[in-house]
Amino acid sequence: MQNFASLAPDLFALEISGLVKRFDRLAVDHLDLTVRAGEFYALLGPNGAGKTTTLRMIAGLLRPDAGTIRVAGVDALADPVAAKHVMAWISDEPMIYDKLTPQEYLEFIAGLWDIAPELAAPRAHELLHWLDLLPHAHERCEGFSKGMQQKVALAGALVHEPQVIILDEPLTGLDAGSARQVKNVLRERVRSGGTIIMTTHILEVAERMADRIGVIAHGKLIAEGTLEELRQQAGDKNAGVVGGASLEDTFLALVTEQAEAA
């Protein structure tokens, strides 16, 4: 795997400022967010808080109404192609083709991201091996379970070695085994210098894996920090909880507080 030590340590993988997106109502409301390179960042929030909208704008799938997005130093709105080169997007619905085999899918993605075949082929083999997909490498994806499909999509995202991986609820509908494989691959990615930004409803995943956690409600970042820092922010609400509040308590406290304030 490629090493990202060459990146300046102070470089931000993602810098968002003043991001606004309005549909029928304001979905993202002047959001500011920064994620350092090599960080595992989890984005939490109640349903409809604007998490997915934010991530889709970062991935270049939605055009914001206002604000700036910089991915690994590249202005993603001015030069989307350059930004997409260093990014991978994984949604809860695996973005695969029923009629392609995993191997063909990876070849297609390598072609799209313009990766030389001599680099892509061994990498694809390694990823398929890693995710236990080698026995199915030449079967069409149409018969795969959701977990296998999501693993194929993950292999696709990793085959071009992105610096920033953006995941929207990647563990939805996965069994314990597949979920663990996905989590392991993501951890490994962070260890070798990659940046991961992920939304999840599974608070335990955020608690265990994330370096930093951001909480979004009504399109705004209402709290941010390590689990410990979040606990302190929600401190007075959890005064009665013995032995340190879980992320669930903290999260609910923060979101309720925000709702009351609103």
């Binding site: 930004a83 997007w89 973005m95 083709y97 191997q103 072609g111 313009d114 075949p117 082929a121 018969g143």
Partner: protein, 509 residues
């Protein structure tokens, strides 16, 4: 509402679903487009009445002599073959659609009743689909020849019933013979071949014996009339029914419904069983086994094009449709071969046929390639300009057209360079406009959903067909006289411009 659990109750449920499905098809999922769709239908129906008046008006007072019976039987048989082909499509879809099957089979209701209703409701859309096409002809005949032609409406119902019965029977036989895994593809191909074979067979016979491309000429010929059975034969019942013979109509209707009832009684108890086996088939891996894919060096466009080709090739529905269109190219090919040595004349006929086929094939391919994208977010997040994605799809489609038509054009060029040049121009324009129309009306959907809910816009389908016909006519006239071609050319341009105006795409300023 009927008593829950009864056949009538299920019929209400099924017809509500069918109605909403139809509505969604007509309006492409948007309610506010319903008035526009209705106007389009009305215009089409009025237009068809004129066409019908011109085509069949003079036959209104036909008597049941042998020539009339042969002619009516031939048209009935042709339409019936197409109905069987359509019904096979619907049957396979009913077998493989898994949306509510698990719900029905896990409920305490009688699955047999549900499936009996479901099989009968395959027949209904058959008749519904045939009616708007046949009604103008029948109306004209009624207006000019009297109420006796009402029998033709009864005949259409009977045709729907028998076509469904035969299609369900055939599909079940295929299930037994080829197994659930292959049936879908095989059934689609069989449906395509049934739809096309009869027409093509007639054309090839006609070409070989008379050197013309008219599909009815073989059946109208004196030989056919002379060899046909006597006037009293049961074979003429359908034709007699259309002509208003009450006894024949009742007989045909009774036989048709008896056949459908028999098939339902045979198949309905096992329908659930068949449908359940398809779920296993859908999940079992279909792959190309041991072949290892070597990563090849390609441009980004190349990777996109290659993906499109692979997906087009692996789409059983598309393969069957394309196969059908290719089958229609056999008669012109035979004609080309036949007239290769006797020189002139026949090339004139080839020009419009080839142009029309190119337009239709391009339309079918580009509809699937442009509107069907399983992973839109993936290609949208790829580091490529957005224009690349559509361009690669168009390139993939047009290169298929080039591969199909180049050999035919090459042979034609040896025989008559002028005709080849006109045809080539026609093919380029027809394929180009068909692709553009699909581009203007494009939707976003997963390919697997394409057959479940037909997402293609009706306006697009008709515009595409009419523009293909228009360009074919233009090319045909141009081959004879370049200047005269301006008139049909203008008509074709009008059709395309109309499609563009009606398209939901944001117009470039």
């Amino acid at each position: 509402m009927a008593q829950p659990g009864t056949a009538l109750w299920f019929a209400q449920h099924e017809s509500r679903l069918a109605w909403r499905d139809w509505l969604a098809t007509m309006t492409a999922g948007r309610r506010e487009r319903l008035p526009r769709a209705l106007i389009a239908i009305a215009v089409f129906v009025v237009f068809m009445h004129f066409v019908a008046y011109w085509m069949v008006g003079r036959y209104a007072n036909a008597v049941a002599d042998k020539e009339t019976l042969v002619a009516i039987s031939a048209s009935v048989l042709l339409s019936w073959f197409l109905m069987v082909s359509q019904a096979m499509e619907s049957t396979t879809r009913a077998f493989y659609a898994r949306s509510d099957l698990d719900l029905i089979l896990s409920s305490p209701a009688s699955a047999e009743k549900v499936f009996a209703v479901r099989i009968s409701t395959i027949a209904l859309p058959m008749a519904m689909m045939a009616l708007p096409l046949a009604a103008p002809f029948i109306d004209v005949l009624i207006a000019r020849g009297g109420w006796r032609w009402m029998g033709a409406y009864g005949l259409i119902v009977a045709m729907g019933a028998t076509a469904t019965a035969l299609a369900v029977g055939l599909t079940v036989v295929l299930f037994r013979v080829t197994g659930p895994k292959r049936t879908r593809l095989v059934a689609q191909i069989v449906a395509a071949v049934i739809g096309a074979a009869f027409v093509i067979g007639l054309q090839v016979t006609a070409i070989l014996s008379y050197g013309t491309l008219s599909r009815a000429s073989a059946l109208q010929s004196q030989t056919a009339v002379a060899h046909a059975p006597g006037l009293g034969s049961i074979i003429w019942w359908p034709a007699r029914a259309a002509l208003g013979d009450g006894v024949a109509l009742i007989g045909v209707l009774a036989l048709s419904f008896a056949l459908l009832a028999a098939i339902i009684a045979l198949v309905a108890p096992r329908f659930g069983e068949y449908a359940v086996t398809t779920s296993g088939a859908a999940l079992s891996p279909a792959g190309n086994g041991r072949r290892s894919v070597i990563f090849r060096s390609r441009s980004q466009r190349g990777a996109l094009r290659r993906k499109e080709w692979t997906l087009l090739r692996r789409d059983p529905w598309l393969v069957s449709q394309t196969l059908m269109q290719m089958l229609y190219l056999i008669p012109p090919a035979v004609l080309l071969w036949r007239s290769f040595d006797d020189g002139n004349g026949a090339y004139q006929l080839l020009v419009p046929v080839l142009v029309m086929a190119a337009g239709q094939l391009a339309g079918g391919l580009s509809w699937l390639a442009i509107s069907g994208e399983d992973a839109p977010d993936l290609v949208a997040t790829a580091p490529i300009p957005a224009s690349f994605i559509v361009q690669a799809k168009i390139e993939a489609v047009l290169s298929v057209i080039a591969i199909v038509f180049a050999p035919l054009l090459a042979v034609l060029a040896i025989a008559s360079p002028w005709h080849a040049l006109i045809t080539c121009g026609g093919i380029v324009i027809a394929a180009g406009t068909a692709t553009s129309i699909q581009l203007w009306f494009r939707t976003k959907a997963k390919r697997s959903q394409f057959r479940r809910r037909q997402v293609s816009s009706r306006v697009a389908t008709f515009a595409e067909a009419f523009s293909s016909i228009g360009w074919a006519a233009t090319a045909a006239v141009a081959a004879a006289n370049l200047w005269l071609a301006i008139a049909p050319g203008l008509v074709a341009v009008t059709v395309v411009a109309g499609a563009w105006l009606m398209s939901p795409r944001p117009k470039p300023a």
